[in-house]
């Protein structure tokens, strides 16, 4: 498990994105490998895109109106997946209340969760303190493990409308 804790401000976004980007390159490689060997920039870019939006949401929305707190990032790298858990201690939101954007209307905002949901295979959010956004992407979605009942949370109570 890779752990990173940074202030929940956009100043630290690039640092966190770089860590996740480096972690992506470990997915599907063996522990014995001396360095990353898998090259799938499209897959990596989709994970990085989703994570960047998640970090934005924590920095911009969770900590809006108050002192920014920290964001904790946990990255689990496997042979066929990457799971990123992003924890913040700010405002919560309700995933179920956030509609998909109307792309025909050329929206200028409200696209972050759409990008996350589009690029990641599993997305879960548990409101609380901390709020926990968990997202998983598989190299081969056909080999993803069956869902357990405990995986079923996709939302909890929440507050603001997130982008």
């Amino acid at each position: 498990m890779i752990h990173l804790r940074v202030p929940g401000t956009l100043r630290y976004r690039d640092l966190a994105v770089r860590v996740v980007g480096a972690a992506c390159k470990l997915v599907g490689t063996s522990d014995e490998a001396t360095g990353p060997v898998r090259i799938n920039s499209k897959w990596d870019n989709e994970v990085i895109s989703a994570f960047g939006e998640a970090f934005n949401n924590a920095a911009i929305h969770s900590y809006r109106g108050g002192m920014p707190g920290d964001v904790e990032i946990e990255v689990d790298v496997g042979a066929n997946h990457i799971t990123i858990r992003l924890l913040d201690f700010g405002n919560s939101f309700d995933l179920a209340l956030i509609p998909a954007p109307d792309l025909d209307a050329l929206p200028e905002s409200g696209l972050g969760l759409f990008i996350i949901r589009s690029f990641m295979d599993d997305v879960k959010y548990l409101a609380g303190s901390p709020n926990v956004l968990s997202m998983t992407k598989y190299l081969d979605p056909g080999r993803r493990p069956p869902k357990k009942p405990s995986d079923s949370f996709e939302d909890s109570s929440g507050g603001d409308s997130r982008q």
Binding site: V17, S41, K42, N45, E46, I48, S49, G52, E53, N56, L103, L106, P107, E108, S109, L111, G112, F114, I115, S118, F119, Q163
Partner: protein, 69 residues
């Protein structure tokens, strides 16, 4: 910056993203905002140099309908 670009009242603005490695929804929103404001003035916005992650985001958001990518 977008305000200043629109105020110049050029017939076409070209946004060159050749050196851009990563874009997020806020960046896309700024380009879409520029496009809408220019379109309202009867002007055009072109986006060139899209590749890799920015291209994937533009395609996901179906912006390839309005920009040639």
């Amino acid at each position: 910056m977008i305000d200043a670009l629109v105020a110049e009242k050029r017939p076409t603005i070209t946004v060159d993203l050749t050196d851009l490695r990563l874009i997020d929804s806020s960046g896309v929103g700024a380009i879409v905002s520029l496009y809408k404001r220019m379109r309202a003035l009867g002007a055009k916005v072109e986006v060139v140099g899209l590749r890799d992650q920015p291209l994937a985001i533009f395609r996901l958001l179906r912006l390839d309908r309005i920009f040639t990518v």
